[in-house]
């Protein structure tokens, strides 16, 4: 069904599809002008006098779109004419494009992979999640439903998540303002991100500090400004950087402990008692593990009278100080400064956290 006549308009996906096909079969690659003159969707817009700036820009955008899908579109220097942009050739290696022949997944594996892709359906990796599920379906197997229905979500709602992932992939140095736990003033940091990890429900970025090269870990939810891409980074991350970052957080978690007592049958008793590695002694005394002193102090302060910190003394003091600050800020004597009336805003039904879990209505 060859097209006899050039159609007036070629759909975008037809142009992109034709570009992928043309580059997959051309062993030595095609130059930009060859592509624009011959490939379906470009050739219709190509005039004999050459490519217009518009057409070249269209090609640049198409390249990015195709790469975004994971298609390895490569540029190859012309050996006879190195460094010359006009003789640069574009190709897609079939070997690097297609799933290796020896990789296949069983129905059970596809089921697990689907579950894993689905956890990202909200937030900044949702496009990746959706695309990988299309690719999984392409591999053919029908999905095996698990016995128990799961709806698991990993959220990356921290605004810093997307720019940090970009910086990871581009190996850039970034700058942001950081509000260190336990402090009330933010400071500016300049670092090269090396890994993004989630530990105990919180996202951390592991980085190399620009000036000192020192490894620093930051909590994403404490990044309080936009993340600015500053310059190309110089550190080459290890292949298992994210595993190492998780192991460091785990090691911290294992090594640091605090002793608390909890009031039986309270929220604190149930939740702290089920925290990872918690040792429950008789009489309501718990040994808790933690990775960050100030985060733990915040968490314990939130439990108010349900928990008493025995040790370390510094933690006891930190929790006490937080409770006192809360009392001082909310006691009857300290009337709040009356602000200008807040402009009326529509109440969005955006409810998260634990506040709507059943017990409040039970």
């Amino acid at each position: 069904m060859a097209q006899a006549e050039v159609p007036p308009r070629v759909a975008v996906e037809e142009r992109l599809f034709s570009l992928v096909l043309a580059l997959l079969v051309s062993e030595n690659g095609l130059t930009k002008s060859e592509i624009l003159a011959t490939v379906q969707g470009y050739r219709q817009k190509f005039s004999s006098s050459g490519a217009s700036a518009n057409l070249e820009r269209l090609f640049e955008r198409d390249k990015d779109d195709i790469r975004e899908l994971g298609v390895p579109l490569e540029t190859v220097d012309d050996p006879a004419n190195p460094g010359n942009n006009q003789s640069l050739r574009y190709r897609i290696s079939p070997l690097r494009y297609r799933l290796p022949g020896d990789i296949s997944f069983t129905a059970a594996e596809i089921g697990l992979l689907n579950l894993a892709a689905l956890v990202w359906r909200e937030g900044s990796l949702s496009a990746e999640s959706r695309r990988s599920m299309v690719k999984l379906r392409s591999m053919g197997q029908t999905v095996e439903e698990p016995v128990l229905g799961y709806a698991s979500r990993l959220r990356s709602q921290d605004a810093a998540f997307a720019p940090l992932t970009d910086a990871l992939d581009k190996r850039s140095v970034v700058r942001f303002a950081y509000l260190k736990p336990g402090q009330t003033e933010a400071t500016v940091r300049q670092v090269q991100p090396l890994a993004l990890v989630q530990h105990q429900g919180r996202w951390y970025v592991d980085t190399a500090e620009s000036i000192s090269g020192a490894r620093k870990t930051f909590l994403l939810r404490r990044i309080v400004s936009s993340v600015f891409d500053v310059e190309p980074g110089t550190v080459v991350p290890a292949e298992n950087e994210s595993t190492l970052a998780l192991q460091r957080l785990d090691a911290l978690w294992e090594s640091q402990t605090a002793e608390v007592t909890v009031v039986p049958f309270t929220d604190a008793a149930a939740r702290l008692g089920q925290r990872r590695n918690t040792v429950n002694a008789a009489s309501g005394r718990l040994t808790l593990h933690y990775s960050d002193f100030d985060i733990l102090a915040d968490e314990l302060a939130a439990f108010g009278p349900e928990v008493y910190v025995v040790s370390p003394i510094a933690l006891q003091r930190a929790v006490r100080d937080r409770l006192r600050a809360t009392v001082d800020a909310h006691s009857a004597e300290t009337q709040p400064v009356q602000e200008q009336p807040v402009q009326e805003q529509p109440v969005m039904q955006q409810h998260m956290g634990e506040k709507h879990v059943e017990e409040q209505r039970g």
């Binding site: 994971g70 697990l112 990746e128 695309r131 379906r137 409040q360």
Partner: protein, 325 residues
């Protein structure tokens, strides 16, 4: 680079074409509706894609897209019987690899879920991760997620579902009340490290959501489940507003606004930069006292006075334990 999160219809349609070709090639003579079902798209989307594929191809030696350079299908079968059979294939012979980010996302998802009973075989999960990394077109981005420690409760829930039995447990509410519950488990949900059970609660005669880390002494019940997942429609969102919700206005340092983002009455983007007040929505003041006591020095309640009092009392009772200092 294209902006992530935004949907690029043409981009997504290209991916569908690249995914559809190898699957159709492997399923000779499949019907349009079977393909639509497999890819979870409409039949018309499949037909459109097949029509496009069937006239696509490579420029070829003549650069003229000659007949042999194009895909082709058995048109009679397609038009008369809604069946798809390629008679010529071009350039594509297998599914596309995962992108570096896609592989990273799935690997991190697997790490997250590897504590579930479904993924009990650690070696199988590890080899799956290796396969994914090999099947990616670039080195997977360095993103990792801690494994969920499923604990006994999830195993008991799963056993209950497998045997179609109820489960029983003690549950502590945010108000500090402890109750024994009998529940028909329906679905397990999670958000990051917080896990929830949704089930039919027999004492409330309604679907309820329970935080798994507030469940104590869980055990298999003696009675069969009376409500099953297919008999109820669980809302997609875990939490919904309820008529009894209260609005609390707070004074918040602008740099700390993101820390209360989950509770804001309006999306953070709707709040003017440098504004230092915000409204948060909670089901009752006992929920807000825990939130505020955990954000000491950063967020202060302005109004209503009752919310300030509940919070001040909560913190004061906590402070009393440490005596006069």
């Amino acid at each position: 680079m294209a902006k992530r999160g935004a949907i690029h219809p043409a981009n997504e349609r290209l991916l569908f074409l690249l995914a559809l070709v190898p699957w159709l090639a492997d399923h000779d003579g499949v019907t349009v509706s079977q393909a639509a079902q497999h890819f979870a798209v409409t039949a018309e989307a499949v037909r459109e894609a097949v029509r496009l594929i069937a006239v696509s191809g490579i420029p070829g030696e003549t650069s003229q897209y000659q007949h042999g350079d194009l895909f082709d299908i058995a048109w009679d079968r397609f038009e008369d019987d809604d069946e798809i059979q390629f008679t010529n294939l071009v350039a594509i012979d297998n599914s596309p690899r995962f992108s570096a980010r896609e592989a990273a996302a799935i690997i991190a998802g697997l790490q997250y879920l590897s504590g579930l009973p479904e993924a009990a075989d650690r070696n199988a999960v590890d080899s799956l991760m290796v396969k994914l990394a090999r099947g990616a077109s670039g080195r997977p981005s360095q993103v990792a997620v801690e494994t969920t420690d499923a604990g006994d409760t999830l195993h008991i829930i799963r056993a209950a579902v497998a045997n179609d039995q109820q489960i029983e447990f003690d549950y502590v509410t945010a108000k500090g009340e402890r109750e024994h519950r009998q529940v028909d488990p329906l679905r397990v949900e999670s958000m990051d490290s917080d896990w929830y059970l949704r089930g039919w609660c027999h004492s409330r005669q309604a679907v309820r959501t329970f935080r798994i880390d507030r469940i104590t002494d869980p055990e298999l019940g003696t009675l069969p489940r009376s409500v099953h997942p297919e008999e109820v429609t669980l809302p997609e969102t875990l939490f919904e507003g309820s008529p009894g919700d209260v609005v609390v206005s707070v004074d918040v340092a602008p740099q700390a606004m993101s820390l209360i983002a989950d509770y804001l009455a309006s999306p953070p983007s709707a709040i003017p930069i440098a504004q230092n007040t915000a409204e948060i929505v909670v089901p009752h003041f006992h929920a807000v006292k825990r939130l505020i006591a955990g954000l000491s020095g950063l967020v202060t309640i302005i109004d209503p006075p009752e919310a300030r009092k509940v919070t001040a009392d909560w913190a004061a009772r906590g402070l009393e334990q440490y005596g006069k200092l």
